[in-house]
């Protein structure tokens, strides 16, 4: 906790402005939509679970209705699992459409689970696929054969000399007899299944079986035979055998699911009873797909879902799409590919086949469609054995729509609320920052450089903490004001107070001298002491005069009257006078010819020039040239005085024009005058410049060979009345310490 607080104070956040911080704070409302999403997901999970539960309940009900009713489940007698699993068993897949019997393998799924593989002479030569649709059984024989040998003649099918490759199809019929049919062809195309019948006199004849349709075609690595048989013909067992010959009439090599010795079918045909669909149809409901599978996972029958009332359409538009990005991540297993989907379905069936009902959720055929599936085992009557699995699948689009709608509403709302909160926070932060910075600026400028205070701070009316802050600032400033007021008047009061005892001293001394003179003079020593005392008191007097000088100057300036005069003429005349006043300096005047009229107080301008020139003379050596320049434009005039000499001290720039500031060190100046120096000269310059609506500044000459003081004066607009500086200084001298 402490570390956290420490981090708040010194961490990266501490560097932010208040506005940024508050904005970040407002951003936390963005957690609202997140929380909404979480809630929606919870809701979705609950919905999904209840959906799964109800689906499971239905599934279990149907499974219960099928319990012990093998005759309903399977074709007669084909009890799966009763004899253990047999690799020759054929479990046809249930097709949703009528397959085309064309001898092509491309519509068959060669990776299907019900594929039967048989090793022949060439190894893994036969792949047998089976499917049902309605009451038909379809078989596909995919055979690898490097040489497909045809019969020599259609008519002479039984002549061993002319036999080519031959396919045997054998199955039980309903009456318990064995049916053996063969396919032999003189070329690719439709072929007939033929049965060998013994005619009169033992003559054997190949009789066509017209109910069976088949097409025999060449494939990439051999050939394909597709066969369609009505389910009613077939009994419990079914198998195929291939007699492969390298040439016509040659010795055959046989492989397949039939016994090669007597062509008996031992592999079972595991398929649903024809009545199963009718039984299941009564449970059919919109949007629910019904499927019954053998415990091995092979699908016995499938009842497609009747169409849903009303098409599910996902919400379109930018925002819902954005929301979905938030939402769909992770909630639903994304098994997109067909095989993945089937594996997921298969797993579900396997779980149910182990005896327990199960539910699963997987992605449907279309993007973002979700399927809820439930599977339940079908038991035998004694409940000991699982004979099948029933699976119900339902697209979850209904509750997805529900979820999407709820979420969209929720997110729209939270987005709106967030925007509002952010906006409000931004506004509040902005206002707060503005108020604080206003208060800060006011408190910063409340104490002016001259020591005057403005006590009126913003926000002092406010009733919140900022108001309190402002008020405490105000009271602090008030106390400070009293103090600075005391300081400001201290010099004046002090000067006044000292002047009285000084007058006593001086008048006493004068009286003493007069008395002494009258009574015949003082002694030598006494005269010296008196002289020293007088000198001291005079210096004290000079100091007092200097201390009050600023006030007198300010008053004089404040009482000055403006008049129109020619500044150029004034500067010319004044510079001329300086030539005689300071014979040790040369004066160079750069004043444009002609008149520069301005409105101001010429006496003050002269006084200002006097101070500037005094300053320049003080800081330059004998024989130096002081340059006085005057420039003017429409509104302003600039007077500058440049002198060679020491450069200005670095920190002097701003303080130079303040009262009682002087930067000259002892011995710094050639011919320092022996009188108290209070640095008033440049302060007076500034006051006069301000009186004329201008300003004063000091810079070093570009090569540091001296200093240049320049004063800007407004030619036509000045400060009418007193400037702030003057006002603040009315009631006393300055007591800012001399540097």
């Amino acid at each position: 906790m402490n570390r956290f607080l420490e981090l708040l104070k010194t961490g990266p956040i501490s560097g932010f402005r208040l506005r940024t911080k508050l904005l970040l704070l407002a951003m936390t409302t963005l957690a609202l939509p997140w929380a909404g999403c979480q809630y929606a997901r919870e809701m979705e999970t609950v919905l999904r679970q209840s959906e799964q539960q109800s689906l499971l309940a239905v599934t279990t009900t149907i499974a219960g209705s099928l319990r012990g009713r093998n005759e309903l489940l399977f074709r007669a007698d084909s009890l799966p699992g009763s004899e253990g699993s047999n690799p020759r068993d054929i479990t046809p897949v249930v097709l949703s459409g009528v397959p085309l019997i064309d001898g092509r393998s491309d519509e068959w799924d060669t990776s299907a689970r019900n594929l039967v593989r048989v090793a022949g002479a060439g190894g893994d030569s036969l792949r047998l696929l089976a499917a049902t649709h309605e009451r038909w059984l379809y078989l596909a024989l995919l055979v690898r054969d490097d040489r497909w040998i045809f019969d020599a003649s259609e008519l002479n099918a039984l002549n061993p000399e002319t036999l080519g490759d031959r396919v045997w199809l054998a199955f039980d019929d309903k009456r318990g007899g064995q049916q053996r049919l063969f396919f032999g062809s003189t070329g690719p195309g439709a072929v007939h299944a033929r049965r060998i019948e013994t005619q009169e006199y033992g003559r054997e004849e190949a009789v066509e079986e017209p109910r069976i349709q088949s097409v025999w075609q060449r494939s990439r690595d051999g050939w394909v035979l597709e066969i369609g048989i009505p389910m009613s013909m077939v009994g419990q067992h079914l198998g195929v055998l291939i007699d492969d010959r390298d040439r016509r009439g040659a010795r055959r090599s046989s492989y397949g699911t039939l016994e090669t010795s007597d062509l008996r079918a031992t592999g079972r045909l595991i398929a649903a009873s024809p009545d199963l669909n009718d039984h299941l149809r009564q449970f059919s409901q919109p949007g629910v797909e019904l499927m019954v599978a053998a415990p091995s996972g092979a699908v016995l029958t499938r009842l497609d879902a009747p169409a849903l009332p009303g098409d599910y359409t996902r919400m379109r538009g930018f925002l819902p799409r954005m929301y979905r990005v938030f939402l769909d991540g992770g909630a639903i297993p994304r098994s997109v590919s067909q095989s993945d989907r089937e594996r997921a379905g298969q797993e579900l069936i396997e779980r149910a086949a182990r005896g327990a009902p199960a539910t699963a959720l997987f992605t449907g055929r279309y993007e973002n469609s979700v399927i809820v599936a439930a599977a339940a085992p079908i038991f035998t009557a004694d409940g000991k054995r699982v004979v099948g699995v029933i699976q119900l699948a339902q697209t979850a689009d209904r509750w997805l729509t529900l979820r999407d709608q709820a979420l969209t509403r929720l997110l729209n709302l939270t987005l709106f609320v967030t925007l509002f909160a952010v906006g409000a926070a931004f506004w509040f932060a902005g206002r707060m920052t503005l108020r604080i910075s206003r208060l800060g600026a006011a408190s910063e400028t409340a104490l002016s450089r001259e020591g005057s205070l403005s006590r009126v701070l913003p926000e002092s009316e406010a009733r919140d903490e900022l108001g309190d802050l402002s008020r405490s600032f105000s009271s602090l400033l008030g106390r400070l004001d009293e103090y600075t007021g005391y300081l400001r008047t201290l010099a004046g009061k002090l000067a006044h107070e000292i002047r009285t005892p000084l007058t006593i001293v001086r008048s006493s001394l004068e009286n003493l001298e007069s008395e002494a003179q009258a009574s015949g003079g003082m002694g030598e020593n006494a005269r010296i002491y008196v002289a020293r005392a007088r000198e001291g008191s005079e210096r004290l007097g000079a100091i007092l005069t200097a201390m009050g000088a600023a006030t007198r100057v300010e008053e004089a300036i404040a009482h000055s009257e403006r008049q129109r005069f020619d500044l150029a003429a004034l500067v010319r005349a004044t510079v001329e006078a300086y030539g005689t006043a300071f014979p040790q300096r040369r004066f160079n005047s750069e004043v444009p010819a002609g008149a520069i009229e301005m409105n101001g107080a010429p006496e003050l301008i002269v006084q200002m020039l006097d101070k500037l020139v005094d300053n320049a003379v003080d800081f330059s050596a004998d024989g130096a040239t002081i340059t006085i320049a005057l420039q003017a434009n429409e509104d302003e005039a600039e007077i500058s005085v440049a002198n060679p000499g020491p450069p200005l001290p670095a920190e002097a720039d701003k303080r130079l024009f303040e009262s009682l500031w002087q930067s000259r060190a002892e011995g710094d100046v050639p011919g320092e005058r022996q009188r108290p120096h209070f640095g008033l000269g440049l302060y007076i310059v500034r006051l006069i410049a301000e009186f004329h609506g201008g300003s004063a500044r000091a810079v070093n000459l570009p090569d540091d060979s001296g200093a240049l003081f320049s004063v800007r004066l407004a030619r036509w607009r000045g400060v009418f009345g007193m400037s702030d500086t003057m006002r603040s200084n009315r009631d006393g001298s300055h007591i800012q310490p001399t540097q």
Partner: protein
């Protein structure tokens, strides 16, 4: 008979020192520490000259009040303000109340005595008939050095003693520039430049009261002032 000088000054040491100095010069001196005592004494008998401090004991502006009351008693009585205050505002107020001079306590005793003597001379001169030779005529100006009075176009311009001496110095040699130091010397005062400037300003204004077109005192920038006829 000795001339009587009243000193109204709350600081006893100063009062006594001034009294001693004036006594040495042969004046009778009476000192009062406050306005109340001074007024009760003046009501009985007016002095020949009054030297008044502005702040008197508990009255910060008691001197001004006293001056006003004293002027009410006598229009001619010379009054000198002698004060530690040196602000322009005080000087203007004092002179406006009818004081003949406004001096700060920086002034030496010798200068003060010179002032007092001059004022007595003026009072005496006013009582005598005018001797023409003492009067300087400069155009519209006539200046009586003895009475220390000035007229412009025949109208009296009421100048304080300091102002009179400045005008006197300027008009002695019309057209000559007098710098500030010279004017200070002439006025027997130690003043800073600004005070001279404000004296000049006051002088102009006083002349402008009797003649709004008055423009005889010229400023020579950087040098000083001169009288132009």
């Amino acid at each position: 008979m000795k001339k009587t000088i009243a000193i109204v000054e709350d600081e006893r040491a100063i009062r006594d020192n001034y009294a001693a100095a004036f006594s040495r010069e042969g004046y009778a001196v009476r000192g009062y520490p406050n306005r109340r005592e001074a007024m009760s004494a003046f009501a009985a008998r007016l002095p020949d000259l009054a030297v008044i401090d502005i702040s008197l004991e508990d009255e910060p502006e008691g001197g001004f009040e006293l001056c006003r009351e004293l002027r009410g008693l006598s229009a001619e009585l010379p009054i000198i303000f002698l004060t530690a205050r040196d602000s322009e505002l005080d000087a203007v107020s004092g002179l406006r109340l009818g004081a003949d001079d406004f001096l700060t306590k920086d002034l030496s005793l010798a200068h003060l005595i010179a002032r007092v003597n001059a004022l007595f001379r003026r009072v005496d001169a006013l009582r005598r008939p005018t001797e023409e030779k003492q009067v300087i005529h400069r155009g519209a100006l006539s200046l009586d050095g003895e009475r220390m009075s000035v007229t412009w176009n025949g109208q009296v311009v009421l100048l304080s003693l300091t102002e009179f001496w400045i005008v006197y110095a300027l008009t002695k040699h019309p057209g000559h520039v007098k710098n500030r130091q010279q004017l200070m010397d002439a006025a027997n005062v130690v003043l800073d430049d600004n005070t001279i400037t404000s004296h000049i300003k006051r002088i102009r204004r006083k002349f402008q009261v009797v003649d709004p077109g008055f423009d005889a005192v010229h400023t020579v920038y950087g040098m000083g002032y001169r009288w132009v006829e």
